[in-house]
Amino acid sequence: MKKKNYPLLILLVTLLSYAMLVTSGCSSTKGNETGEVVSEPNNTLVLGEMWDIESINPINGDGTLICEKAAITETLVGASEDFSLNPGLATSWKQLDENTWEFKLKNNVTFHDGSKMTAKDVKFTLEKVISENSKVASMLKVDSIEVVDNYTLKIKTKEINPILPGVLHYPDTAIISPSTYNEKGEFVKPVGTGPYKFESFDDQTRTLTVVKNENWWGGKVGLDKMIIKGIPDPNTRAMAIENGEVDFTVDVPYSETDRIDALDGINVEKFKTPRVYKLDLNLKHEPLEDVRVRQAMSYAINRSEIAENVLYNVGEAAAGPFLPTMVWANKSLKPYNQNLEKANELLTAAGWVDTDGDGIRDKDGKPLKLNFMTYSARPGLPPMAEAMAAQLKEAGIDVETEVMEMGSIDDRKEKGNWDLYLAAYNIAMVPDPEYILTNWYTTNGTDNTPGYSNPKVDSLITEARKITDLKERYKKFNDVEAIVYDEQPMIIVAYYGCAIVKKDSVKGYVFDPTAHDYRINADMYLEK
């Protein structure tokens, strides 16, 4: 009798044991999950970070996380709110001659491993970064680094490089102890000088835990512990903070900011970050060659409506490439206001008139039709592209939007068969205008996607490079800004915003506009 039921038995037993295995597996791994945080000491902050934590190696692309968000490491050079440089781990620096810089270091800084930070460690860090991070290497242009004494360092560059101190504000150049690596030269864990020290990194859930550095040179540290979880989906971040699963996060969906702010116990603050939404125009294509068409397009776009309804005020209508709060920005520029009459005038003057009454302008029988590409990695872009297309259509310009993968966009750019490209560019990778203006507006600049070329701009920028006096230098750059504002080879649409979402119990947070996304400051603490 029993034998007959035997296959059934196997099946049931397998299923049951499976279910048991699974559930027991669950309970045994319990504890690394955020819901359990209640049992942690009260002064622990759970941070919902906006990118997945891919690796924790500070010098090779993850500096932003380790330095700015986890506050494990610190840079030689700091920056204040208006992006002017101020001392970090270095107390002062000066340019000895065209290619030589001298840096003086703080003498009271210790690494998390207990050793003192000296010029030798700085040299070690910078050389390591230069060898492993070609991006930084190409910005630093370092020829050699010389340790003068324990707290003095001489850096020789290959060519004149006025932005060198600015580059040393870049998080990937943050100073690490040699004990970050083992004897074989393999990366172990980030050992820095910051207010928090590395405690653990869970490779499976990609959660980074840092604890208070009792011996921080800067004084008291607000939190005992910080648990940083990568939550790349904005919507999930919103749900997480709403459900109380994280204490601090950024960039919930822009549309949700006001609603979440209104919730009890949660507040949302909107800031501008050094990044702009910019529309590249392909100047090699017929209608866009004409400066009048470009200006007309700029007049056709309603920047404030976009900032309000697409970005939900996480961001702001923009005039030039730089935030008005930046010390070097040309503050006399104002955003183009939507002015369809003016757009009409300019387009008509350029010969684009709607002759067949289909709502689309044409010239010599050809309609004014443009393609418009963008990508989806930044949530503001696709809806912004759609809204802009609708606004341009009102001015009689037919625009077809395409949301594409980065690879296909690069491909199209290379082949030249594109008209408009909307992207969000960082404008203060390095806190100095030279980097951006050179890349964007000089003939053959690395990010000069439109193919813009103006000898006046080129010469202004070359002149400015040689000027060490900041005021004089910035003046030249202001002139550049004014020219490109007039010629609109790229339409700067809006400043990129950042929404900081935190529980009311999180106190002492200060937003740092120079940070690449946001920066955790040592003073931050939790109130019971």
Partner: protein, 280 residues
């Protein structure tokens, strides 16, 4: 009596499904009746509205009428699904025919390829392909066809294997017809019925796959009115405007249901020996 009634009822069910699909397809004369809006007209002042008399299903994050977009989304989904099913049907028929008809090494190698394509979850592979090619209608059709055709090839091969032993095929052989003539005139017309049934049911699956890929952000870009992409864009507003999540999902579900029923009906018509009640 009762059986008759049931039969006519089920006929009506299929007819209804067919009509409604068709109605979705001819959006131009049909849509304006229900919704007077341009599915792409952006109205930022009226974004994220709840359903009302004016916008029956509300509006989306750019103030576009959701109903109009869902209706036009049907056309996107259906055209892509049609492309995918057609291409897989063509490839599957061709390869299945070749394998079944020629046998030997052709069959051996074709069958291996078919087995391989059937032996892993297709969506995974489509995902990988889409990730490489980037989103877009043609890429999507390509990626899904690659993972869909094998099913058809297998069914076709089976059909051909049994057909080629049938005497009317043999007598075509002895009367000197070439392979091409035999396959085209005798084999395919007689073998195609179960494939058409499969294709109809597949329509629903393909629509699901399209939506899934778009939802993951690698199928169709958010600006294309497609259900998965709409759902993906709408999930951001899940708490404030759940309609943007719920309605596109309902649209997908109902289409898949419709095609299952249609496929079932086709089976009843084309393959009367099949047992009923598989779908519902």
């Amino acid at each position: 009596m009762e059986a008759n009634l049931q039969k006519s009822l089920s006929k009506k069910r299929y007819a209804f499904c067919f009509d409604s699909t068709f109605a979705f397809f001819r959006d131009r004369p049909f849509c304006p009746l229900i919704s007077p809006y341009d599915p792409n007209a952006i109205d930022l002042g009226n974004k994220n509205l709840s359903p009302s008399g004016e916008h029956l299903l509300g509006t989306d994050y750019l103030g576009r009428d959701l109903l109009s977009r869902i209706l036009i989304g049907a056309r996107t989904s259906l055209s892509i699904a049609f492309g995918v099913v057609l291409i897989s049907l063509l490839i599957g028929t061709a390869l299945g025919c070749a394998a079944g008809y020629y046998g030997g090494i052709v069959d051996e190698s074709a069958s291996r390829v078919i087995d391989i394509f059937l032996s892993f979850p297709g969506i995974i592979f489509a995902l990988a392909i889409m990730g490489v090619l980037g989103s877009g209608v043609f890429n999507l059709i390509f990626a899904l066809s690659i993972v869909q055709w094998a099913k058809y090839a297998r069914v076709m091969r089976g059909q051909v294997l049994s057909l080629k032993k049938q005497e009317f095929v043999l007598s075509a052989v002895t009367s000197g017809a070439d392979d091409f003539h035999i396959i085209l005139k005798h084999i395919v017309p007689n073998a195609i019925a179960p494939l058409l049934v499969l294709a109809t049911i597949d329509f629903g699956h393909v629509i699901l796959s399209i939506a899934t890929l778009s939802f993951l952000g690698i199928g169709l870009p958010a600006d294309v009115p497609e259900w998965g992409a709409m759902l993906s864009a709408g999930k951001e507003f899940m708490r404030t405007a759940p309609y943007q999540t719920i309605f596109p999902g309902l649209a997908i579900t109902s289409f898949v249901v419709i095609f299952s029923i249609l496929g079932d009906g086709m089976r009843d018509i084309l393959d009367p020996n099949h047992e009923e009640g598989e779908i519902y």
